[in-house]
Amino acid sequence: MRWTRPWGQLRLPLRARVMLAFGLVSVLVTGLIAILTWNLSSSYMLSQRQDSAVRQAVVNARLVQEALRRDSHDLSELLTGLGSQVESAVLLVDHGQWISSGNLLDPRQLPHALLDLVGQGVAARQRLVLSEVPVLAVGLPLPAASATYVEVFPLRDLDRTFHFLSWMLAAGVVVSGFAGALLGRWAAARALRPLTTLTAAAASAAAGDLTIRLPDTRDPDLAPLTTAFNNTTERLQRRVIRDARFAGDVSHEVRSPLTTMLNAMAVLQRRRTELSANGQQALDLLATELRRFQRLVDDLLEISLATEDRADLPLEPVDLVELVAHAARDRVGGEPPVVDAADPHPRVLADRRRLERAVTNLLSNADQHGRGLVRVGLLRHNGQARIEVDDAGPGVPVADRELIFERFARGSPAFRDPSDTGAGLGLALVAQHVHGHAGRTWVEDRPGGGARFVIEIPEAGQ
């Protein structure tokens, strides 16, 4: 299933998307709460401050009104006292005459709109910035003295508190956004953990281990996936075994007629001279093809024993130099190979017969498909014993390097030897036997041209 999205190329990985979603949601929620908190607390504090300011202004206005009525000269003293607080001020407009007192502030800068309003006999208050100081101006008409009283209260403390509060809330939103993202990351990792297990299991299944199963789970979200995966590998494994068994059965069935043919052929070959020239040629053709057929049947049987475990292999210590020397003895024609062996000789725990079969197949592959064997390297490398078989051929194209280890995959027709009698199972058998020894096999370019087939299996402990 595949669906496209408008931002197709820009799709983030699942984990990042979950993180982003969690982060956004938590920013949204905490942001909303922060705004609410800000509004409620700031308006509450402001109204508290205003109420107390108004109360104080009313008391002070009453004192000023008293002083005006008595017309005493206490007034200027009183006004000076009232305006002496830092960043506060008082202004008295008495019959058009402005009497003011202020510490650091000049109350004559108060907006006229406010003064006019109070002058008309309406009590008023206003928040404003006076000489860069946030203040609250409370204006009260003094009807008894037909004067106007304005008192200015500093709001710097409240402003600082608001500042602090807003910073705290903003920081809280940012932190909760990050925390949300982290939570998202954790949740994604946790939710994806079964997927990680599945990925690992699928990878080993793809690498050929069909015995792998996911552990049973009671999680209703995961159970169908687990069951489906396990069923799939189970069916695949059964199928592989069935295929192998079929190949084995075919091979066995073919063995009886093959026995008859080989022995009849031996009888005929003994009497070759009794035949005409044409008869002899035909007999030789038949003999060659029969031997090829026999090899194919042998390979088929050998490969049908694929499902064997390493535990079933009769393992014994094997000196690779000896093994290669023995394998090379069976080569048809050709010089003895140049062997480049590490000292001391690499040794492995192996099923001698199977490993030798793998080496024999690589040697004959070099002879038949690689224009001749150039060198055999027997090396040790990071705890692995390594067999390198170099040939003089054109090498194997990168695209074919895995394919040639498949059954019945021969070299591409371009560089196939016309006298090739390979059955197409040789390299597949190599791969299988090496796999059975917990090893790896691959082909690479030989430095200087040609192909290098490599077998690597764990070195035997001393």
Partner: protein, 227 residues
Amino acid sequence: MSLTLLLVEDDARIRRSLALALGDEGYTIVEAPTGEEALRYLATPAVTVDLVLLDLMLPGVDGLQVCRQIRERGELPIIMVTARTDTADVIAGLEAGADDYVTKPLVASELAARIRALMRRAGDHGGGAAFTVGDLRVDPAQGRAVRGAQDVHLTKTELRLLCELAAAEQRVVSREQLLERVWDYDYFGDTRLLDVHIRRLRRKVEPDPGQPRHILTARGQGYRLVL
């Protein structure tokens, strides 16, 4: 003097072709299509058979039974023919008393090589001096083993194996050496062949085959005979 082989094989075409090809190798062949017929032929007085080539898959009395019955009567060398190399099949055949085995498709010339190796050990008992293993007195020259007054029947292969172990004078003989000296297998023979024969030998030599005191296993190396 040509050797006489009893060829027990139910497939007529295989039997005919093998008889022809083995005839070319210089053997006299007696053909038997079933186990019953083979046993009947062997029971006939005055017939000489030097070796039995026995297919394990026979209709009626199967190859394993035939093998066991031949063993009960004596040490006639037996090479069994198996279609499958499955462990169970080969081991069952060897336990039943076969001296060696070949798998199909078997070719007369290769078979002749195995027969020669087997007949050589049947004729040559190592020629060494007599020796005693526990309470068993072994006389290679006569091809006999005696416990007290009682004859212990060892097949030619078992006797040869015991002699090879004895010749090493208590030292370990490797599996490869034993396979080469007793069966003529170079480099790698089937070690199951050796292991089953050791088991068979222990049953005849050891007082308690489960706790061997004479034929000892040297793990990862081979076997050792303690007299």
